[in-house]
Amino acid sequence: MPVWLTEDEYRVLAAACDRLIPATAEGPGAVAAGVPDYVDGLLGAFLVDPPRIWAGGPTSGRRGGDAAFTRFHSLSALDELAWRMRIEGSAGHAEREFNGPVVGLQEQVRTGLAGLGADFAAAPAAEQDARLRADPAFTEVLYRHACEGMYGAPEYGGNREGVGWRAIGFEGDVQPRGWTDDEVTAP
């Protein structure tokens, strides 16, 4: 269940993400890794308190220590202004328009998904790729976030159980264990 997008929009998003980072013999694709949930979770970051912007520290629990990444940071007033501008856009609020109107991610993604077409998920792969190439600005935004969702920390909703990291042999966060001197110099 998407938290911010509609079910229909989410279906288009998922199909688009799986073209950007497809499943192959090397590993799972974007959908299996939870990338659409990462994107939807960012668009709906302010639906939860504290908003899901910055995971906590210092450790995730994956290499010892507490599972502190799940305790998201609270935002200051200035942080909240910045992130509402980034996600929601200025949306007519005077205090967000000190340098003019800002188009937020929600609007960029909603408009971009609509442009891919309601039938996108059912279209053949070649047709899907052609539609993605037809809107390079939106596809760039989507791909940037798909990469974040694929290889960022799982606490943000993507990279489910670390599948993105495992596929590329990356250990992810390593505190508090770190690496021994031998592992650094003579791996």
Binding site: E26, Y143, A167, E183, V184
Partner: protein
């Protein structure tokens, strides 16, 4: 309220001033516009727990600020570009308690004696305003030593054959070399260069009550989760532990109040948006070399050269893929550097002459890999090739690179001023950077780029590529903001008020009690990270102010913690 000193900015420069002044018995308020993620809000002498190995938080989501949506800067290459070509992130260094020290990976070499007197030794460069510093290496040496011991620097005295003389050893031995750096250092040596362990402000052994670095690899661009980085956490914790310092985070200094030849204090916009005035006997400005001139301009402390001579290191990057993994995700980002390309040789002199230049200098070369998969992924195309490229990983797991911090000469056309219309969320004009490399930088890069690539080839690289930041020729797009996070030179220091903005003690000419304590005062940029030199200069300025004079070379204030 009135305090002995208000310090603007809590980065390495401001923290150093706070440490020295509180040790001398002064009361200080450190005003910092960013948030406090460094120190425990309930006990400011203890670490906070906010830093983590989290690429999204630190690289994609502006955790340490400044967020370009609410605190943008603007950029243009020259006046011919119009008012600006970029609004957003420009030469950003974190805006947070601890400033750029929090996420720098802290390679902190000293400059060498020659670096302070290029005009005397080499003569002028056409188009540039090369000048000698009013402070030389010998005078700065005791402060370099103090800085290395108070911050906590791991290094090997004598390992760099080109280094200046030292009055004391490093307080810690170097940490473990990274695997890739063992390969690149050996290749560089085979080609006649002199790599050495990078002096680094991260503990190699427990020191000053903080643990040894555990090589987590999320170092450059990340706050240290275990506080093994000393710069500036050590300085700040000591200052706050003195009981004579207050730290005001989320507080923006919007103006230095001046009456005649004296500053009386500052105006501070607090977290709730209200402004209050604070009286101070002295104002120490350490806001970084872009924000410091901005604040002086906002305060109408004008001087025709204020903001000019911005230097930021013209970086040349040579990269290549090895047939094997380089394991750059383990360790402190950079463990080896070499100085040969700033020292120069006969080939460099020939290249300069061939290009019609009197001389050229490159910069210190960092031996580095790549560790971050999100950043890597965004460089590959989308589609079926993506998973294969990520698994093969030519530009992360198998990448090795050299980054030359090319010495940027001071040009009057490279500058910081106030943008005529872009504002921050608080309503104040933002800093505008006008920057383009000069002929010297381009020729030096052209000369050394292929030589860096040759070391990669010697290592067995499958391919090599050389690029610069900003790009040269066709790559020099109107949006080509330099990648360098080393900002210097916008409040030039000198004896003559006609050719400099600050005097040799860091005081603004014409104002008795405003001292600049960051890299704004640099006269030239050398080819080294600026931080240790700006810390040494800030320590010197603070000692001169407090009348405590140069410290004893055998530092008493810091004792290594038992192993």
């Amino acid at each position: 309220m009135t305090v002995d000193a208000v310090i603007v900015g809590s980065g390495p420069g401001g923290s150093t001033a706070a440490d020295v002044l509180t040790a001398a018995g002064w009361s200080v308020v450190i005003v910092e516009k960013g948030r406090n993620h460094l120190l425990d809000p309930d006990d400011l002498t203890r670490p906070a727990a906010d830093f983590s190995n989290d690429e999204l938080k630190f690289r994609a989501r502006h955790f340490l600020g400044p967020d370009p949506l609410v605190e943008p800067r603007t950029f243009r290459r020259s006046e011919a570009d119009g008012d600006r070509t970029v609004v957003g992130e420009v030469n950003s260094v974190p805006s947070t308690v601890g400033g750029g020290g929090t996420h720098a990976d802290g390679k902190v070499p000293r400059f060498r004696p020659d670096d302070f007197r290029l005009l005397d030794l080499l003569g002028p460069q056409p188009g540039a305003e090369v000048a000698d510093w009013p402070v030389g290496y010998d005078e700065l040496e005791p402060y370099y030593t103090e800085a290395e011991w108070s911050v906590g620097v791991a290094g090997a005295a004598g390992a760099n054959p080109f280094a200046g003389p030292r009055s004391a050893p490093y307080p810690m031995p170097p940490g473990p070399p990274m695997y890739g750096a063992t390969l690149s250092a050996a290749a560089a040596e085979r080609l006649g260069y002199h790599p050495y362990p990078a002096p680094t402000a991260a503990n190699s052994v427990p020191y000053d009550g903080r643990p040894a670095c555990n090589n987590c690899g999320f170092c450059s661009f990340f706050g240290c989760p275990i506080h093994a980085k000393g710069d500036p956490v050590a300085l700040l914790r000591r200052a706050l532990g003195s009981g004579r310092a207050e730290l005001w985070p989320e507080s923006f200094v919007s103006r230095i109040r001046v009456s005649g030849r004296r500053a009386t204090g500052v105006d501070v916009v607090g977290p709730d948006g209200t402004t209050r005035s604070v009286g101070a006997r002295h104002v120490i400005v350490a806001a970084g070399a872009v924000e410091t001139p901005r604040l002086l301009l906002l305060s109408d402390l004008d001087h025709p050269l204020l903001g000019r001579y911005l230097m930021c290191h013209f970086q040349t990057l040579a990269a290549g893929s090895l047939p094997v993994r380089t394991y750059a995700e383990r360790g402190r980002a950079v463990t080896h550097v070499h100085d040969d390309m700033i020292v120069g040789d006969a080939a460099a002199r020939t290249a300069a002459a061939g290009a019609g230049l009197p001389w050229l200098r490159g910069g210190m070369v960092e031996h580095a890999g790549a560790a971050l998969p999100v950043l890597e992924a965004q460089h590959y195309p989308w589609g079926p090739a993506h998973p294969r490229l990520m698994a093969d990983s030519p530009i992360r797991a198998r990448l090795w690179a050299f980054i030359m911090q090319g010495e940027d000469l001071p040009y009057a056309h490279n500058r910081v001023d106030l943008d005529p219309s872009v504002r921050d969320a608080r309503g104040f004009p933002v800093a505008r950077v006008t920057y383009r490399p000069g002929p010297h930088e381009l020729v030096a890069s052209e000369h050394y780029g292929p030589r860096l690539a040759a070391i990669l080839t010697e290592m067995g690289a499958e391919w090599t590529s050389v690029s610069t930041s900003p790009g040269r020729g066709n790559a020099s797009s109107p949006a080509a903001v330099p990648e360098s996070r080393h900002n210097m030179g916008t409040v030039r220091m000198g004896t003559d008020p006609a050719t400099s903005v600050a005097d040799p003690t860091g005081h603004l000419h014409g104002v008795d009690n405003v001292v600049v304590a960051d890299s704004s005062v640099f006269v030239t940029s050398a080819g080294y990270g600026p931080t240790l030199t700006l810390v040494a200069l800030a320590a010197r300025a603070a000692h001169l102010l407090a009348g405590t004079g140069p410290p004893d070379p055998a530092p008493a204030r810091v004792s290594p913690a038992p192993g």
